[in-house]
């Protein structure tokens, strides 16, 4: 197999806070192939955004610290070993990023034309006129009507969805190899969400960019990603191709996630079941499985003391659970009472 585009090895990121060390990303390894779309799913605080910012080396330090044993191999080079100047040439040029909130991610006092042309001039050394015509092209590509007239507009003159399109135009301006989209649709209306996802799909097939799609919404990644990995409390708990993950989830957390979202394609036999409780305190992590306190399948004694490692449960399907769990497995505890206790 050819070398993957990006290989993350043993990524550990800590944050120093007043209350102690927060283990935001705790020994995470994964890969992303060229042209592939990888979905990373998890609730807030699961470490998915920190992972993406770590790849971009955009985490402020202090308070953050990436463990020196971590490796981020991108096209054969370890990003963590690059000098800051060389890393800058990677950002925007080879790896680009789209952020969650298009309202605040664009500079309010600069025209969007200026903001798009900025990377073109910086990375591709374009002249003003070249950058301008390319910016118009990009805006057309992301579906902004009368693109040439809107270059001089300021972000506040665009709607949320349109701003996210501008963000995307900015991100793809230098034809990056990898596009990291951090919750690109979370701040948008549902109908706009679908449009933005369609746009990302279209760009992927036209440009052949690899995409890392980060979201808390399993529904968003469903039709979009080749592979999905689920994160919980700074660790990857399950990873599989998209379809097997939906049809046959093998980790209690994934099962919980799927049970908590409504589905239109199935008869609604059961009530939606929320995942009860809160993610663990990331400073004093439990010694055993970090999902144990919220797990309906936990086995008292074992789960609290032994931390499960990611292991292959089926071909190309890994789960970090000590037991072979699937949707049919009987639950072992009454969660409502457990959480109350």
């Amino acid at each position: 197999m050819a070398q993957p585009l990006l290989e993350v090895k043993n990524l550990k990121v800590n944050f120093k806070t007043d209350d102690g060390m927060v283990k935001a990303v705790n020994d995470v390894s994964f890969y992303l192939n060229e042209g592939e779309t990888l979905g990373i799913v998890g609730e807030s605080g699961s470490g998915k955004s920190v992972t993406s910012l770590a790849i971009m080396r955009l985490l402020p330090s202090p308070p953050s610290r990436i463990d020196p044993t971590s490796q981020l191999i991108f096209r054969g080079r370890d990003l963590l070993k690059l000098k800051e100047d060389d890393m800058r040439r990677v950002r925007g040029r080879e790896i680009a990023m789209i952020f969650q909130d298009p309202m605040t991610s664009l500079n309010p006092v600069l025209t969007i034309g200026k903001q798009i042309m900025e990377s073109l001039k910086l990375h591709l050394k374009m002249t003003d006129t070249q950058a301008k015509s390319r910016a118009v092209e990009l805006l057309k590509l992301v579906g902004i009507p009368s693109a040439d007239k809107r270059l001089g507009d300021y972000p506040h003159q665009f709607s949320g969805g349109m701003r996210q399109r501008v963000m995307i135009a900015m991100a793809i301006s230098c034809n990056p190899k990898l596009l990291i989209a951090d919750e690109p649709t979370t701040a948008l209306d549902v109908t706009i969400q679908a449009q933005i996802l369609e746009l990302l799909k279209k760009l992927r097939s036209e440009l052949g960019t690899s995409i890392m799609l980060i979201t808390h919404d399993l529904g968003v990644v469903a039709g979009m990603c080749d592979r999905i990995q689920v994160m919980y409390a700074g660790r990857i708990v399950e990873t599989a191709k998209a379809k097997p993950l939906y049809v046959n989830p093998r980790h209690p957390y994934t099962i919980g996630l799927l049970n908590s979202i409504p589905r239109l394609d199935e008869h609604r036999a059961e009530r939606l079941v929320p995942i009860i409780g809160l993610p663990p305190d990331m400073i004093t992590m439990p010694p055993g499985c970090s999902f144990e306190p919220r797990c309906a399948y936990s086995n008292s004694g074992v789960c609290q003391s032994k931390a499960p490692q990611l292991r292959e449960v089926e071909a190309e399907h890994n789960s970090a659970c000590l037991f072979d769990i699937n949707k049919e497995s009987p639950t072992t505890v009454n969660l409502v009472e457990k959480v109350k206790a």
Partner: protein, 315 residues
């Protein structure tokens, strides 16, 4: 936009009326008049008052006063420079005050803003602590105390090193006004330093700064192209407020350094109950504050494209 300009400018009228009404009311509550003297017979006093129109009812005096003000006839000084038109006196002395104010506001901009930026860029490092500490120190010292300490320092260095720094001058040149101007500017500069720092830190934490970083911009480019303009927005407001403060601060600084500006004359006018001078000077100060605030509001529009004038509330 034009509507906003007009409304904003019209706002000067009620402020002017309010200001003159308040000042003139208080002036007539002042005990005694400049002509209260044992040497003059009551009859003579009455005749002088009539000559100056001071025997009329207060409201009539006020209307006449406002009417004359608009015509540029600002009345006649009643005491120190007896009989000379107030407008002439002010014209003679306002130059010194303006020079001091210009030096002070330059100090605020040249010293205050860069130090704030330096502090923010070195957040939680020694340069930051130094800038914050120094600015808090100067913020805490009233202008006149700082002026006095400077004066003591000048005296001491004159004695010790045989320097000849002048302390006072009846006809000060721009160079003579440098030290008083800088002293006057230091306290507002310290406020601006603190504010610039806070504003810069706030901006540096914004999402769009992260976006700029994700584009591969260098730190310097991020600061000059993306952070600076945004962080200047709140500072412009404060500069406006501080200018009003400077106008008042100049009263003390002019007294301490004996500069013959209008602040200096205001204080002596209050001592000698020179109605016209007090009324005009206070009204003038208030007008300056209002006009500067107007200019600041309009400046906003150039810096921040989000401001739509029509939707903003006055004041």
């Amino acid at each position: 936009m034009i509507k906003y300009f007009i409304r904003r400018i019209l706002w000067i009228i009620p402020v002017f009326l309010g200001v003159t009404l308040i000042t003139s009311t208080f002036m007539h509550l002042l005990p005694g008049s400049p002509f209260t003297s044992d040497k003059l017979s009551p009859d003579a006093q009455q005749r002088i008052l009539a000559a100056y129109g001071l025997d009329k009812p207060i409201w009539e005096q006020y209307i006449i006063y406002v009417f004359n003000f608009v015509r540029g006839d600002w009345g006649i000084s009643l005491s120190q420079q007896m009989g000379r038109p107030v407008s002439t006196i002010i014209a003679e002395h306002i130059g010194y005050s303006l020079q001091v104010a210009v030096i002070a506001i330059s100090t605020v901009i040249i010293v205050g803003v860069p130090f704030g930026i330096i502090a923010a860029l070195n957040h939680n490092k020694w340069l930051d602590y130094l800038a914050t500490g120094v600015s808090l120190f100067f913020y805490s010292i009233p202008s006149f105390v700082l002026g006095i300490l400077t004066l003591i320092l000048i005296l001491w260095s004159n004695n010790t090193f045989g320097w000849t720094t002048k302390l006072t001058n009846t006809n000060p040149t721009f160079v003579d006004l440098l030290i008083p101007g800088i002293v006057l500017g230091i306290r507002p500069a310290s406020i601006v330093t603190r504010l610039t720092r806070a504003s810069m830190l706030e901006v540096l934490g914004q999402d769009y700064i992260r976006t700029a970083g994700a584009k591969g911009l260098s730190r310097r480019m991020i600061i000059t192209r993306h952070a600076l303009k945004n962080s200047l927005i709140p500072i412009v407001t404060v500069l406006g407020d501080e200018f009003g403060g400077l106008a008042v601060g100049s009263v003390t600084i002019e007294t301490v350094f004996a500069i013959p500006g209008i602040g200096f004359y205001l204080v002596s006018s209050i001592e000698s109950r020179d109605y016209s001078m007090i009324l005009i000077t206070t009204a003038l100060y208030a007008m300056i504050v209002v006009v500067v605030n107007l200019v600041v509001d309009l400046l906003y529009g150039f810096i921040d494209p989000r401001i739509k004038y029509s939707t903003r509330k006055v004041g």
